[in-house]
Amino acid sequence: MSASVRLDAVTQAFARRGSHRAALAELSLDIAAGELVAVVGPSGCGKSTLLDLIAGHARPATGSVTVGGVPVAGPGPQRMLVFQEHALFPWLTVQANVEFGLRSAGVAPDRRAATADEWIARVGLADAAHLHPHELSGGMRQRAALARAFALAPQVLLMDEPFSALDAPSRDRLHVELQDLWRETGTTIVFVTHNVREAVTLGDRVVVMSSGPGRVIAEVAVTLPRPRVVESGRVVDLAQHVRGLLDEADQMGISAPRHGRDGYVSI
């Protein structure tokens, strides 16, 4: 099961003591059902904001967000968001965390346990299932959060830099694993990252955003055969090209001036 995602002239701004601060400047994006789209952009360009809008945690200031042709009205398990910070419930074990959403969906206890076991094993946490989040390393927490998301078999999976806290070997393994899972489940995936190579490795298409307030400055189709790995020569070449687009955008001064202290951060 998967659904298409469509953002139409979406803008978002945050009010702070009367002054508005734009986070997204007119962004339009069409994602086909079952597509794996990677979004890259500098820190603070509005990538998390974009995912929040699709997930339904926030409403756009203007424009519309539709998933499967239906306007997004609020958060729900069909649009699963894997947060930038792991967001596991600290009072529950890994097992109970993964079962959380299944229980909300009314899955019977034995099926719940079986599904959770399967996903916990797939992310390599089988012998940590009874631990609480604070007893896990950063990377293990992130993997537990992944298992929790996948266990619900969402139509759209929104991933916010889910692998940025991982060590290179487990990240590489999860890259391959994610591509396999995506092929098996056919879920639409929006994968946000600031790592250009990771974007090229995973995406059917790489959407490049300008520094904040974010807009789409380029889209690069990736037609290399799967499964891809970050080290492969062709991935590196294409990543160089995407990186060039990003740098070019900033040199041309496309990025609007921003208020506040955290200015442009290069990636």
Binding site: H57, G76, E135
Partner: protein, 240 residues
């Protein structure tokens, strides 16, 4: 030591030795057990009701911005006042019996628990609420499965504060009027008042002190440390 010196200075104050003897006496004829037992039953019943009312009320105002703005100032004012001032009021309205003191003790603890719960609910990390919503929870089941467990350590703090207020209320009630609560403390107080002999009084104070320490050790610190360990709020040198 201080107590012993004080009893040398002030004739009326019984020394530790005499008090210990009185304590042994009370233990022997069952008065000690009876006081502790009745104290536990009375406080247990009143406090259980207070916790239910306080947590429910705190959740309600913690979840609604309007309710919070409307009610919290009054709650804070209520909590700031000595709750024992309600004892005469309750005595006149409800009569001088167990129920009247029970109501004061119960209601005395409610504002503290309510405010503690409200603050704890307010401080639940929004990220966890979002995670809960994304995973398909909403409404009361979101409260039950995310808000309440996330707020539990904070709620416990309010509950502890409520307990000490309830206890103060009880003792004040006993002083105000003899055998109000049926715990027997009041009887001891009025007897000492009449005879001028403080030995039994001191022994009873010791019993009450021991009771509160015991409750704190056995209930509150245990629950707190369990909550904290489970959530990783105790630094055990684990990876982060």
């Amino acid at each position: 030591m201080i107590w012993w010196l004080a009893s040398l200075a002030a004739d009326a104050l019984p020394g530790p030795g005499v008090t210990a003897a009185a304590l042994a006496d009370m233990a022997a004829d069952g008065r000690l057990v009876s006081i502790v037992w009745r104290l536990a039953a009375f406080m247990g019943a009143c406090f259980a009701i207070a916790v239910v009312l306080g947590v429910a009320g705190g959740l309600a105002i913690g979840m609604s911005r309007a309710g919070d703005r409307g009610l919290s100032p009054y709650l804070a004012a209520l909590q700031g006042m000595p709750t024992s001032m309600w004892i005469p009021v309750a005595a006149i309205v409800l009569g001088t019996d167990v129920w009247s003191l029970g109501a004061v003790v119960t209601l005395g603890a409610v504002p503290a628990i309510m405010l503690g719960t409200r603050t704890a609910v307010r401080n639940v990390p929004p990220l966890l609420l979002r995670a809960g919503r994304t995973l398909g929870e909403s409404g009361t089941s979101l409260v039950k499965r995310v808000v309440l467990p996330a707020a539990l350590p904070g709620i416990m703090t309010g509950v502890e504060l409520g307990w000490s207020i309830a206890f103060r209320c009880l003792v004040a009630g006993e002083i105000f009027s003899g055998a109000l609560s049926g715990t027997g403390i009041g009887t001891v107080i009025s007897r000492s008042r009449q005879t001028g002999d403080l030995t039994e009084m001191m022994a009873t104070i010791i019993i009450v002190l021991a009771f509160t320490v015991l409750i704190d050790r056995l209930v509150f610190s245990r629950v707190q440390s369990r909550l904290r360990t489970r959530r990783g709020l105790v630094d055990a040198g684990l990876p982060h």
